[in-house]
Symmetry: C2
Subunit: 409 residues, 2 copies
C-alpha cells in the first residue's frame, strides 16, 4: 500500500524559519582529534561537582525519593523557587516565590517567553551580535529583530533614540560577559536602557547565564535590581530576568529559571505546562540539595580561578601571535573572546585554513544580523587547557598570516 | 519613575488560546486530607525503583559523570536512542537510531510535533474525549480539532468517511488504554484508521504512554508496527509514535521519545534545540543504566499486578455502589476508568456533592470537544490504595444518590 502524504505541504509554515544551530554544527564538524577547538561553549567538566552530586543523590533517595521521582508542579519545586527568590531579593525589594518559574535550562525560558510575548511582526531589539539560539527560537514565531551596534561597554544606548528601535515591543540583552563578545553592559547604560524602555513601553529581557563567572572588576547590578530601584510597584515591573545553573553547577541537569512580573506568570506557566509539564523533579531536588550544602559558594571560586587563568592565557597568546590589525575583546568574565580581523579578511575563509592548521572556532557572522561581522570570530576559553590555548592560538596566528598573505599576493 | 508597558497588549495573540490544565487545577483543589482523590493521574510512588536508581546513579558518577553532567546532543544519547530503536524494530522492519528523538517527557514530543506540523486552521482529528494537554498544547498554534465519537472498541472508524474529518491534515490517537476512557483501539480499527489515513494523506500521531500497563487480554500491535507492515519504504511512513518512561520507571525523570519518519526529523530536532537544547543528560544516562540492568523487565510485572488489583477493586466497588443507570468502561490496562451518569445528571454538580462526602474526581467534560460528556467523570485507580478505593467509591455512590434524589424532588 502507498500513502499519499505530501511531505512538502505537511510542515507548518513556521518551520521555514527554523534552522539547526550552526554553532552546534560547527562544533560537530570540528570534532577531530588533531584539532584544538575553540568553537564550543562548554564548561570544563573537570570541575563538575561529582562527589557533591553523589552525596546529594544519596540524600534524595533517602529523604525525598517519592517526590523527586513523581510528577511535580509546573511552576517548580517551592523550596528551589524560594532559594532563587531570596537570591534576587534586596532589603526593601523582595522578589516573591510567585515570580519564579523553574525551567528546563535558560533556553526553555527564552522559548516560553517567545511563545507568550512574540506575535508575527513584533520588533525585538537585540545587541548585534547576540545569542544565536534566541534568534533561532523566536524567528519561527515571527519576531522582527532589530540589531543595535555594540562597543566595549556593550549595547550602544546612545543609538536607542533612532527611529527604528523606538517601535520595539521587546528588548533582549545579555548584560554580563555577553555571548559572543564577552563584553559587559556598563551601569550607566543599564540605567539608560531601563529609562528608555520605560518611556517607550518596551518590555525587557535580561539573560544572565554567565553573571556568576566574573574574573576581575566590580559586579554591576542586574537590570532586574536596578528596575526594582527605579520603578514603582515591585512584582509589576516589565522586565524578566533569566538565569541558569548550567554554567555554575552542571548543564546536564537542565535547570534554569526566570523571575517575571506577576501579570505574566499565569501565561508563562500555561506555556510551560504545554511544553513539558514541568522540569525534572529529580534534578530540581538535586540542585536544591547542592545549594543547601553550600556547593555553589565552594565551587564558584574554583570555576573563576580556572577560567581566569585560561582567559589570561588566551589574551596573552593573542597578544603574542595575532598579526597587526587584529583586535579582540577583553572580557571581565564569561566564556568567550571575540576577535575582529582586518576588514578585508573573512572569518569563514580563515576557518578553512585554520582547520588545515588544526584549530577551530565559530565564524562571528553567525551571531550577527544584517550580514555584519564577516571579519569576526568567537573563541571559547573555558573548555581548553592552558597548553591547548597556547598551541591553538599559535596555530590560529599561522593560519591568519597564511590567509593574509594569500590575499596580498 | 513609571513604566508605560500595557500588559493587555503585551501578550502574544496565541496566549488567548492558552489555559492552565484544568485537571491539574482540579487535583490542586481536591488536595484535602479528608478527601479520597481519584482526580489525578499519578503512578504509585511505592513502586518507583529507588534502590535501582541509587545503583544506576553510582555507576553514572563512576563511569560517565563528565558526559552525564555536560551539554549533549539535541537528538539524545545515542545508546538510549539505539535501545528505543531496537525496542520498536521487528525482523525485516528495522527502526533506525536516526528516527528516534529523545524528549523531555511525552508532553514535549506533542509540543514539538505541534510546532512542526500545525498551521493555524489545520484540521486535527481526535478521539472525543481525548488527552486534554494535547488540546491545550496545540490550540495556541491554531489547531482546529474535530472530535470523532468513540465506543468500547475506541475511535468509531466507521464514521471516518464523514465529510468533516476527511479534510484532517493530522489525526491524533491514544490506541492503548486511552486517557480519559481507558478503552483500547481494536486491531481491525487500527488497520481501518491506517488505510483511511493513507487514502486521505492524513498524518498519524500514535500516543502510547500506557501501552506497557496491560492487565489482561492480548497485546494489540502498535499502529507504528502495523504501518511498517502495511506500507512501503520504512523510515518514510507518515506516522509518529510517542512513548515515555514516565509510567513505567518514573515521571520525575522527564524522559520520553518519539519515533518519526526521516523527512520530519530535521525540523523536529531544530524545534527541540530551540525548546530546551536537549533533554537532561543525567536523566538519559540514568534511564539507560536502568534499562541495561533489566529494571524494566523486573519492574513491569509489579506495576501490572498492583494496578490490576486496584482496577479490579474499583470495578467491584462501582458494581456494588453505583446506582442503576450508571455505566463505566472496563479498561484492560492503563490508569483510568470513565463513568457515565444518567444523561440528566451533571458531573460538575456531582463533584460539589462528592467533595462534601470526601471524594474527588475530574468532570469528564474537560476532555471532550463540543460540550459533550457533561454526564461523565474520570476516575484514576493507580495512586489510591485498595481500602481508599472501596471507601471512596462508596462515598461516590452516596453522593450520586443524593444528587439524583435532589433532582427527582
Amino acid at each position: 500500500m502507498k500513502h499519499t502524504v505530501t511531505w512538502s505541504t505537511l510542515l507548518a509554515q513556521r518551520t521555514q524559519q527554523m534552522q539547526r544551530s550552526s554553532v552546534r554544527e560547527f562544533v560537530r564538524l570540528t570534532q577531530r582529534p588533531d584539532v584544538i577547538s575553540f568553537a564550543g561553549g562548554l564548561p570544563e567538566p573537570g570541575l563538575f561537582p561529582v562527589t557533591e552530586l553523589a552525596s546529594a543523590a544519596e540524600s534524595v533517595w533517602s529523604h525525598s525519593a517519592a517526590s523527586a521521582l513523581q510528577y511535580g508542579e509546573s511552576e517548580g519545586l517551592a523550596a528551589l523557587r524560594d532559594w532563587i527568590a531570596a537570591r534576587h531579593s534586596r532589603p526593601g525589594a523582595e522578589i516573591r516565590r510567585e515570580q519564579v518559574l523553574i525551567t528546563s535550562g535558560a533556553q526553555q525560558a527564552l522559548s516560553l517567553l517567545g511563545q507568550v510575548l512574540v506575535d508575527a511582526g513584533d520588533q525585538v531589539l537585540v545587541e548585534n551580535p547576540t545569542y544565536l539560539a534566541l534568534l533561532n527560537a523566536w524567528r519561527p514565531m515571527g519576531a522582527d529583530f532589530v540589531g543595535l551596534p555594540t562597543d566595549a561597554e556593550g549595547l550602544r544606548t546612545d543609538l536607542l533614540a533612532e527611529a527604528e528601535s523606538s517601535r520595539a515591543k521587546l528588548a533582549y540583552v545579555i548584560p554580563n560577559f555577553q555571548n559572543p563578545q564577552g563584553t559587559t553592559l556598563s551601569l550607566r547604560r543599564r540605567v539608560a536602557l531601563l529609562e528608555w524602555a520605560a518611556r517607550q513601553g518596551t518590555f525587557l529581557i535580561e539573560d544572565n547565564p554567565y553573571g556568576e563567572l566574573r574574573y576581575d572588576g566590580t559586579e554591576v547590578p542586574h537590570m532586574l535590581e536596578l528596575a526594582v530601584e527605579l520603578f514603582e510597584a515591585p512584582g509589576n515591573i516589565p522586565i524578566v530576568h533569566v538565569g541558569t545553573f548550567s554554567k555554575v553547577l552542571s548543564p546536564g541537569l537542565r535547570v534554569g529559571w526566570m523571575v517575571a512580573p506577576l501579570p505574566l506568570l499565569d501565561k508563562l506557566v500555561q506555556a510551560k505546562q504545554s511544553a513539558d509539564l514541568h522540569t525534572s523533579s529529580l534534578n530540581q531536588h538535586l540542585v536544591l540539595a547542592l545549594l543547601q550544602q553550600g556547593v555553589l559558594e565552594r565551587l564558584l571560586p574554583k570555576w573563576r580561578a580556572l577560567y581566569r587563568e585560561r582567559r589570561d592565557a588566551m589574551l596573552a597568546a593573542l597578544h603574542e601571535h595575532a598579526p597587526a590589525g587584529t583586535t579582540w575583546t577583553r572580557p571581565a568574565g564569561g566564556m568567550f573572546i571575540m576577535v575582529t580581523l582586518p576588514s578585508e579578511l573573512n572569518a569563514r575563509s580563515l576557518l578553512a585554513k585554520a582547520l588545515e592548521h588544526g584549530v577551530a572556532f565559530v565564524p562571528g557572522d553567525e551571531f550577527h544580523l544584517n550580514n555584519a561581522g564577516q571579519n569576526t570570530l568567537r573563541l571559547n576559553f573555558t573548555n581548553v587547557t592552558h597548553a591547548q590555548i597556547r598551541e591553538g592560538i599559535a596555530r590560529l596566528g599561522h593560519a591568519l598570516r597564511a590567509v593574509a598573505k594569500g590575499r596580498s599576493r
